[in-house]
Amino acid sequence: MATYLEFIQQNEERDGVRFSWNVWPSSRLEATRMVVPLACLLTPLKERPDLPPVQYEPVLCSRPTCKAVLNPLCQVDYRAKLWACNFCFQRNQFPPAYGGISEVNQPAELMPQFSTIEYMIQRGAQSPLIFLYVVDTCLEEDDLQALKESLQMSLSLLPPDALVGLITFGRMVQVHELSCEGISKSYVFRGTKDLTAKQIQDMLGLTKPAMPMQQARPVQPQEHPCASTRFLQPVHKIDMNLTDLLGELQRDPWPVTQGKRPLRSTGVALSIAVGLLEGTFPNTGARIMLFTGGPPTQGPGMVVGDELKIPIRSWHDIEKDNARFMKKATKHYEMLANRTAANGHCIDIYACALDQTGLLEMKCCANLTGGYMVMGDSFNTSLFKQTFQRIFTKDFNGDFRMAFGATLDIKTSRELKIAGAIGPCVSLNVKGPCVSENELGVGGTSQWKICGLDPTSTLGIYFEVVNQHNAPIPQGGRGAIQFVTHYQHSSTQRRIRVTTIARNWADVQSQLRHIEAAFDQEAAAVLMARLGVFRAESEEGPDVLRWLDRQLIRLCQKFGQYNKEDPTSFRLSDSFSLYPQTIAQWRKAGYQDMPEYENFKHLLQAPLDDAQEILQARFPMPRYINTEHGGSQARFLLSKVNPSQTHNNLYAWGQETGAPILTDDVSLQVFMDHLKKLAVSSAC
């Protein structure tokens, strides 16, 4: 057998799954002592050029509480045409279409190489993808111009039959009607007034005219489609029209007096966008793309007032509970995000400004719906332009790399339960036998909704081993997990991707080394980081840091080789050596979810060619700063690299060249020293 490294890599490529532990501790108690929970990173739509979808529907276990999909791990009785569910052990009859199966004539889903398989569903009406642009007009002239160009360009990238809509906002919010000839028409809303979905739909004329009591006039058949499609039109029909409309877009005309911020009604604009789609296309794939150039300054969701003399909230304000608008704004955007998620739509936020734009308050919009959040200095930068363009890239099949309205359903074998998920998803609150009572992340359910996802979207899924210590699992026993993802493919088909995996159980007492060897420290670092971030949402920052530290120390105590009270004796196996460093990095990054920074170090250490290559591959496009030693921009770099020299220890270390790095972070060396000391300490 290959090394675990290869095994991990192989599994990731085939199934899009990486577990923290690839050999599972066989009892609850032992699992808890492992410190790093049994969990996996799941990339539901992992790109599989070699995996053509099958054109039929999956066969499900007939037990209503199970409904697992037939998979290679199932035992099949070819003679009796029966199969046993490997999760609930229910014996199922094959459907009539499977009449001809035999050991040599197996359907794809029974073949081991199809541990991940994708089904194409023909049922149900297909509806086109929807792109709703929500555009801030309180921008500087060149910013707006750049944004307009990007948007115009994007029209040529959209699928021709996709529906597109335009909402612009500044002091007011304008919903543009795209269907009319001659006079261009838009519906205007006050930027300060919170409207319910019903009000928005009434005002946009989306509700069917109520005809109380009198059925005299039959409803005209085309009336409804007309109403809803006034704002959302197929790209191929109105791209000229929309190009002109975008071209004529002006900066918000309302005067901004000296000392004021422009009045920006982001909250209402987003609310209207959500309400519009909610009323017209619930549960179809739709992307609300918000482009904003500054913080919301009025109405629901405002983050800062329009007085320039009062600066936008800082971390300091937030810690002191002194951020006046934060709670209300966060609540507003959360409400919107939840509604959007319920409708299966997603929200992207493209925030380009030198100052803050209130992403903190708005983050849930992207987080809960699987949207992108991109932050840049200006719309007139390649960072934004290329990132935006990259959203519309296509895969090897010529399909857009995006999918919508997914539900992820997870089945586990009996020894495992699902503790929760962390990622761009919301719970569907589906209780079942495999749902754990202990929650990690978004728990209490076996199903989640992921409104927008692409081939790299990854969730952290956390499990709990529930097998009791006194009920050992037979040697060689395997646990299985099945991930079933229903989603709307960018080609508008409904698809189901099923991934079924299995791992060996091992007894910690006797097989610790096995388990240790099967530790995926990268995955573990990420999974722990997600947990840390998730906890930070609700807990105080220092507490989370302390928790992370303690977990790390416990891990080292468990797996390190050392003599008690002797830090110098401490040694970790290869499979663990990177983990503390990564954690150190994460620790420094605090609880900000900025994965690009993790790679920054590598990026900047690589030659420029490498940099370009990486720039091309990453999404969102990283901010690329070319600097040199001593250059002013070097501070960005220095603040991220391992601060082995700081103002604290410069003179102690003394000899080497280079400027001290002004940071509160400890150097990795110091960190490791402390870690070792604590790990070997018996007091801990």
Binding site: Q174, K185, S186, V188, R190, M203, P253
Partner: protein
């Protein structure tokens, strides 16, 4: 408002009786107009003693002593005209029975009169509405009439039972030989046709004739210019064409008073009950021969004002101390003359530059206002017009929207301009609406207009700033494109519901955002029932008529409209409303905002393009083109002793002195009532100064000042001699029309009747020579008061007929509120012009005839107009040739009844009649749609409604009946 509060008359009147002796001559000479109606039939021509037997109506001749001064009461007789009165001739009686009857309704039938007593006697059954003893109304006069209303005890005895009343046995206090200039001889014997005599009725020719009075005034005063230099002059009647020369007092085109000689004390005023009021039309348009007010620019220091009362410099200010100071003519405060304004005085104490300075020599002039007079201390921007067009189903279906958009394309070139400006400074904007609003961006840089829909009508706002209000010339292409597209865009609309308040709010907010004043032109079709602020329900209920709740029909349904109006006024947003209802739209509520913002309401019921296009377009053109002052405040200052206490018109008041007008045009009038707060002085008279601060249509802030000096009198006779009945009626109508908002209509009518009776009784008691109580003696200047007042009383608002809708009543009510004197005059007493009596080649208007069916000859045709309606009545036996040349049909029966356009025919009669119609229309501020009415046709009922001297279907009294009733009321007061 109590009628008792009313004081201050000011009527136009025949040229008699005041002023120069010449008028005396004319008075005596032309007897007919002197009020001796009986006499003008040759019968009792010089009605000396022999005339006296005639009972009846007398108008007291103004016994023209040379000036207002020194008038002696008629009793002293001297130079005045002889007239009948005195003892009744045997066998003659007037008003007999009714007088003795406390309740005229039950007055004994005419036959009770001794045979042979003619005409006057029984006053017929009196109209039910005046029943004197209805307790509903307490005459609140000052003591002088005492308990007049408790009729029975005393008058019962002097005038014992009815039948004999007329006879000489009646208590006739006067010596038989007395000449009484005020008495009207009864026409009876001489001229009444026999059969009339037997009917015991009053000869209509014997009672004061409006036509005669108007004619006389035209003849007497229409030739010479009216020079305003002399204090207290009564101007010619509004029906007379005359030129005005401003020599220190405001032209009567700007200000008319109920009386030009006001009592010195409030006691006198209370006794007379003559309302003291001025009807002010600050921006009146002038005939081309008269110069509009000069604009005075005092530079940065602004207009010179009294430090204490803030009155503006005017010709009545007294310069003293060699010109270094001036004494305010209003409050007597002594002010320093600023150095830059100093000028020496001549030997008469007048500034030597008096005639170079309009403010020192003219009655009316303007000041350029400084920035202190501007809102927020900022010079105003040019105003804007916003056209707000209902595009609901009804508006589209009738073709209104298409018509309007087509018209606007050309009409916008005629926005009002300042002086010789090349283009109008006014910017325009467009909104269409049904239950949502559509704003249009018509910025010149756009290829196509942009529509912005605002559906949030509950919380209205303006969605755009730039491109909404534009210069017409810059954005012409976009605007034209918009106006082309509007009818198309909504051609298939099914939306029937409309909103109203949000529309006005939107307009107002747009003006606010643009920081300017302006005017909204609203074209609206239906009751606003869509869910929005100001939503209305149909609450029309004819059953309320004649109940205590009738007033609710005139009141707005909700307070939202007043609140909105208030906001509009604060912004200088004037609203003109064009209504095109098919059914009840609640004019009473919808007109609140136009009314309070100085706007106009136009109503085209059941609008159809074919029939109403001309009328609507003509009104629209005039309305859009007329010069308007925006964001105006009017203040009327008075000299010590009197004070402006009440105001009537289309405006808003947030305090008791400032009349705020979001917009004020040349048609709008404010009637101001004055009361005494101190004693006045005959010598110094009384001064009025009306100051109007406004923004011109080019955005210039100005002050227009009108000054008027009035005489004061210690003798009531002077008051009565200098009254103007037309102005009085204007005041009384407005007073009554406002009264219906708060009081039952019947109470309002009774108030008017009582006041009128008190006015006349006071005259009779204090000014007329003693005569038989059976005689009705009217002051010369007020001899038309009864007939005109009767017209007011029987008008649609105060006495609705079955055919008049609630909306029409509310509409008329608010129209009258801002009418000037000429308009109320013709509105209440329509003009009836015979068409074939005068020679066909005559170019002048034919002399009018009295508005009574009796005056119609079935061989003739008549035009009748009242400023709003225009009828052509065709007699059944009109010559065929006439029919042919006018209607191009061969016989009477072929004339289409209800025709509204006369065929254009090339013959003198057709040309003349059409020319006459055009000229009548040109005189009125609203287009009068012609209706051709054939005698004996069913449309004739409509026409007859305007024959105001006749009894009306709705129960209104005939002139004669009312006069008799009035007589009785007076006698009750006197006894």
């Amino acid at each position: 408002m109590q009628i008792s509060g009313a004081v201050a008359p000011a009527p136009p009147s025949s040229g008699l009786g005041y002023g120069p002796p010449t008028s005396l001559a004319s008075a005596s000479g032309s007897f007919p107009n002197s009020g001796l109606y009986g006499s003008y039939p040759q019968g009792q021509a010089p009605p000396l003693s022999q005339a006296q037997g005639h009972p009846g109506i007398q108008t007291s001749q103004r016994s023209a002593p040379s000036q207002a001064s020194g008038f002696t009461p008629p009793a002293s007789g001297g130079p005045r005209l002889p007239s009948m009165t005195g003892p009744l001739l045997p066998g003659q009686s007037f008003g007999g029975p009714s007088v003795s009857q406390p309740n005229h309704v039950s007055s004994p039938p005419p036959q009770a009169l001794p045979p042979g007593t003619q005409m006057t006697g029984p006053l017929g059954p009196l109209p039910p509405m005046h029943s004197p003893q209805q307790s509903g109304y307490q005459p609140q006069q000052n003591g002088s009439f005492g308990p007049a209303r408790g009729p029975q005890p005393n008058y019962g005895s002097p005038y014992p039972a009815a039948p004999t009343f007329g006879s000489q046995s009646g208590p006739q206090p006067l010596p038989p030989k007395r000449l009484d200039p005020d008495a009207i001889p009864s026409p009876q014997l001489s001229e009444l046709p026999p059969q009339q005599k037997t009917r015991h009725r009053i000869d209509p020719d014997a009672i004061p004739s409006p036509i005669q009075v108007i004619e006389d005034d035209r003849n007497n005063r229409g030739t010479e210019p009216f020079v305003t230099g002399v204090r207290g002059q009564v101007p010619p009647l509004v029906t007379t064409n005359f030129l005005v020369k401003d020599q220190g007092n405001a032209s009567p085109r700007y200000i008319r008073c109920t009386s030009y000689n006001i009592p010195c004390t409030s006691d006198m005023a209370k006794q007379a009950q003559v309302p003291l009021a001025a009807v002010i039309k600050p921006l009146a348009s002038l005939p081309p021969e008269e110069a509009s007010p000069y604009v005075v620019d005092h530079g940065e220091s602004g207009p010179l004002r009294c430090n204490r009362c803030k009155a503006y410099m005017c010709p009545f200010m007294q310069f003293i101390e060699g010109g270094r100071r001036f004494q305010c003519c209003f409050c007597s405060c002594i002010n320093d003359v600023p150095p830059q304004y100093f000028q020496h005085l001549d030997h008469t104490g007048k500034r030597v530059d008096a005639y170079d300075r309009p403010e020192l020599s003219l009655g009316s002039y303007e000041f350029l206002a400084t920035v202190d007079y501007c809102k927020n201390n900022k010079f105003p921007s040019p105003p804007a017009f916003i056209f707000m067009i209902d595009v609901s189903y009804n508006a589209i279906r009738t073709g209104l929207v298409r018509l309007l958009c087509e018209e606007l394309k050309s009409l916008l070139d005629f926005l009002p301009r300042e002086g010789g400006a090349e283009e109008s400074a006014i910017r325009v904007g467009f909104v269409t609406y049904n239950k949502v609003l559509h704003f249009y961006n018509v910025k010149s840089s756009l290829a196509q207009p942009q529509m912005m829909v605002v559906s949030d009508v509950a919380d209205m706002f303006v969605p755009l700033l730039d491109g909404f209000l534009v210069n017409i010339n810059e954005s012409r292409a976009v605007i034209t494109s918009l106006l082309d597209q509007i009818p198309e865009m909504f051609a298939d609309t099914r939306e029937t519901e409309t909103v109203f308040v949000p529309v006005i709010q939107a307009g107002m907010e747009a003006l606010k955002a643009a920081e300017c004043a302006g005017k909204l032109f609203l074209f609206h079709t239906s009751l606003p029932i869509a869910e929005a602020p100001g939503k209305l329900k149909n609450r029309d209920d004819r059953k309320l008529i004649n109940t205590d709740k009738e007033k609710t029909l005139f009141q707005p349904q909700t307070g939202a409209y007043q609140t909105l109006a208030k906001e509009c006024v604060a912004q200088g947003c004037c609203v003109d409303l064009f209504l095109f209802p098919n059914q009840y739209v609640d004019v009473a509520t919808l007109s609140v905002v136009p009314q309070l913002t100085g706007g106009s309401v136009y109503k085209y019921a059941c609008f159809q393009v074919e029939n109403d296009q001309e009328r609507f377009l003509s009104d629209l053109r005039r309305d859009v083109q007329k010069v308007v002052g925006f964001d105006a405040v009017m203040r009327v200052r008075t000299s010590t002793g009197i004070r402006a206490v009440d105001f009537f018109g289309a405006f808003y008041m947030s305090n008791t002195t400032d009349v705020e007008l979001a917009g004020l045009d040349g048609d709008k009038t404010v009637t101001v009532e004055f009361k005494h707060d101190d004693r006045l002085n005959e010598e110094s008279g009384a001064l009025l100064q009306c100051a109007l601060l406004y923004t011109s249509c080019a955005g210039q802030r100005r002050l227009r000042i009108h000054n008027l000096a009035l005489n004061c009198c210690t003798q009531l006779a002077d008051l009565y001699r200098n009254c103007e009945t037309d102005t009085l009626i204007n005041y009384m109508a407005k007073f009554a029309y406002r009264g219906v908002l708060n009081s039952p209509v019947k109470a309002v009518r009774d108030t008017l009747i009582t006041q009128c009776a008190q006015i006349l009784a006071c005259y009779r008691k204090n000014c007329a020579s003693p005569s038989s109580a059976g005689q009705l003696i009217l002051p010369e200047c007020m001899k038309l008061l009864p007939v005109y007042l009767n017209c007011v009383l029987k008008s649609d608002v105060l006495q609705p007929g079955a055919e008049i809708t609630t909306d029409d009543r509310a509409y008329v009510r608010q129209l009258v509120t801002s009418m000037d004197v000429a308009e109320t005059n013709v509105f209440f007493y329509p003009r009836l012009l015979p068409l074939t009596k005068s020679p066909i080649e005559s170019t002048t208007e034919p002399p009018a005839v009295r508005a009574s069916e009796e005056r119609l000859s079935n061989g003739d045709m008549y035009l009748l107009e009242n400023g709003l309606n225009l009828f052509l009545w065709v007699g059944a036996s009109v010559q065929q040739g006439v029919v042919q040349s006018l209607f191009s049909v061969s016989s009477f029966s072929q004339i289409t009844s209800g025709l509204s356009v006369l065929p254009v025919l090339d013959n003198p009669l057709s040309k003349k009649v059409r020319g006459l119609i055009d000229s009548l229309r040109a005189q009125r501020s609203r287009y009068m749609k012609l209706i051709v009415v054939k005698q004996e046709d069913k449309l004739e009922m409509l026409f007859k409604h305007f024959l105001v001297e006749d009894k009306s279907l709705s129960g209104g009294a005939s002139y004669v009946d009312f006069l008799c009733h009035m007589h009785k009321e007076i006698r009750q007061l006197l006894s």
